[in-house]
């Protein structure tokens, strides 16, 4: 007789960042490749609203089945996994407008989340692309490990800053709703002008002062809001220190802790490799960049951070 082994839930990582072109797909596909090479079962999910391109970084053709089949034809998510590379790496590709709110009703979104959590793998890595559409943010908040990535340039930093605030706002909104305080939250927000609430900090302070329960919810959610930040395409020490600066800003401003998990130096070989359509981690796994991506993976898995 066979005893059924209780499968452990897959650990879900999500990567977002607000701005396009910062390297999310490259880094996520590289992390996935690295984990798979270490014997882990990994499923990559390409949920980029702007168009799926994870497959290009993996050096394979775009799979025919995609998330569109999930949303429109109710194909189970697990049926959409296409094996790529050495066998323990799988890919679910997306489509332009995969997560667009016009196409997806709330119950479909919930179905999507339910099935993501049930995917059989050690790791499920979700590429959320650029932008802060509510479905992107909600998928981000679903993850066990949330990652944002920036290049050390002002526009990217600002976009990431805005995205992170939106994510925190949404988390608080959902949490207040779950505790029966939906109207307190929504009301405070709608009337923010009359309450002289000028920014997110003011809003959070206002809520915290409105009741003991609200304060407890806020303290809990903020202390459990862990985001991993990655600096990509760093060229010097100042670039590396952007990670610490961002960490400080959020700590001082909103009170939560960014984990500075990785600083990936700019490396020309990456671009050359991608241009030729190869999987960078497979081809150049002794390059400096590859080593840093391995370190980044370790840091996110173990919760350690750069000093």
């Amino acid at each position: 007789m066979e005893t059924e082994e209780k499968k452990e839930k897959a650990e879900i990582w999500a990567i977002a960042g607000g701005k396009g072109g910062t390297g999310k797909s490259f880094i996520l596909s590289s992390i996935g490749t690295h984990l798979a090479e270490g014997g882990k079962k990994v499923i990559l999910v390409d949920a980029d609203l702007g168009g799926a391109n994870l497959h290009s970084f993996l050096g394979v053709n775009k799979p025919k089945k995609s998330l569109t089949n999930f949303f429109e034809n109710k194909v189970p998510l697990s049926d959409l996994v296409e094996n790529v590379g050495n066998g323990s790496l799988g890919l679910i590709t997306g489509n332009f407008n995969s997560l667009d709110s016009g196409a997806i009703k709330h119950h479909q979104k919930l179905r999507f989340f339910r099935q993501i959590k049930k995917l059989e793998a050690d790791y499920v890595l979700i590429d959320l692309g650029a932008g802060s559409h509510i479905n992107t943010v909600d998928t981000f908040l679903l993850a066990d490990k949330m990652m944002v990535i920036v290049v050390p340039e002002k526009p990217a930093i600002e976009n990431m800053y805005e995205f992170t605030k939106k994510a925190l706002f949404r988390r608080l909104s959902v949490s207040f709703g779950a505790h029966g305080l939906k109207y307190l939250f929504a009301g405070a927000w709608e009337n923010r002008a009359s309450h002289k609430i000028g920014n997110l900090r003011d809003f959070i302070d206002f809520l915290a002062n409105s009741s003991e329960k609200a304060r407890e919810i806020i303290d809990f959610e903020i202390s459990n809001f862990h985001i991993h930040i990655v600096i990509n395409q760093a060229r010097n020490i100042q670039d590396r220190s952007v990670g610490f600066a961002v960490k400080s800003l959020f700590k001082k401003y909103l009170g939560f802790t960014f984990q500075y998990s990785g600083c990936i130096w700019y490396d020309d070989t990456v671009w050359n490799c991608i241009r030729k359509g190869h999987n960078f981690m497979e081809l150049c796994n002794t390059s400096k960049c590859a080593v840093e991506i391995m370190k980044l993976t370790k840091n996110v898995r173990e919760g350690s951070h750069l000093k």
Partner: protein, 209 residues
């Protein structure tokens, strides 16, 4: 004079183990949190964190909205004051090896008057004032020397205004700028003020023939 006390040698270089350090400092955790430091940070790490944070919240990292919208001058001022207070509290607790000492006489740093008010009251910089500020901030000359590549001797000469031992104006100005920048002081004002004093010395020297 070194005594033959071998127990003292067991605390390598005067520092206790990390665990003991953390336990000693636990009651003062909130100050370490403000400086975003681990509890077992060394004195050098504490100073570096202080200066880095002062720089971050004083300069134009916040060049455009939305970040600058969330950090109006008032808030930045509050944060800077918090950083100063945390630093002065921590220094007051520690001896020169970074251990908590019992008698309440740590590295002296003004805990009553705010550092920023002190600076605001300065009408003109001088070598003496640079030295005073450096000591108030608990910064050693060798640290500045390492970071700016200016020899300790020259930094000392600037503080003592030994102009005859310092290089010509065009180099001196650069030294003073770097010195002031390291201490997160206004480098232009410091350079202007001290070069004025240099000029006075030079003119007087020229007239003694």
């Amino acid at each position: 004079m070194r005594s033959g006390n071998h127990e003292a040698h067991q605390k390598c270089e005067g520092r206790l183990s990390s665990e003991i350090i953390k336990m000693d400092r636990k009651n003062h955790k909130k100050y370490f949190d403000i400086l975003e430091l681990d509890l077992d940070a060394s004195l050098a790490e504490i100073r570096k964190a202080y200066l880095d944070l002062k720089k971050l919240y004083s300069t134009d990292f916040f060049l455009t909205s939305p970040i600058s919208d969330d950090f109006p001058d008032e808030r930045r001022g509050d944060i800077l004051k918090q950083i100063d207070d945390a630093y002065s509290h921590i220094l007051a607790l520690l001896d020169k090896d970074g251990n908590i000492q019992e008698n309440g006489e740590g590295i002296s740093y003004c805990t009553d008057c705010g550092h920023d008010q002190y600076i605001a009251k300065i009408s003109a910089f001088s070598g003496k004032i640079l030295k005073e500020l450096r000591e108030r901030m608990g910064v050693e000359l060798h640290e500045i020397s390492r970071k700016t590549n200016i020899s300790m001797q020259q930094l000392e000469n600037i503080e003592l205004e030994n102009f005859q031992k310092l290089p010509p104006a065009v180099y001196l100005r650069g030294f003073v700028t770097a010195f002031a920048e390291y201490l997160t002081l206004d480098p232009h004002k410091a350079a202007e003020d001290i070069m004025k004093r240099y000029k006075i010395w030079k003119d007087m020297k020229g007239s003694d023939k």
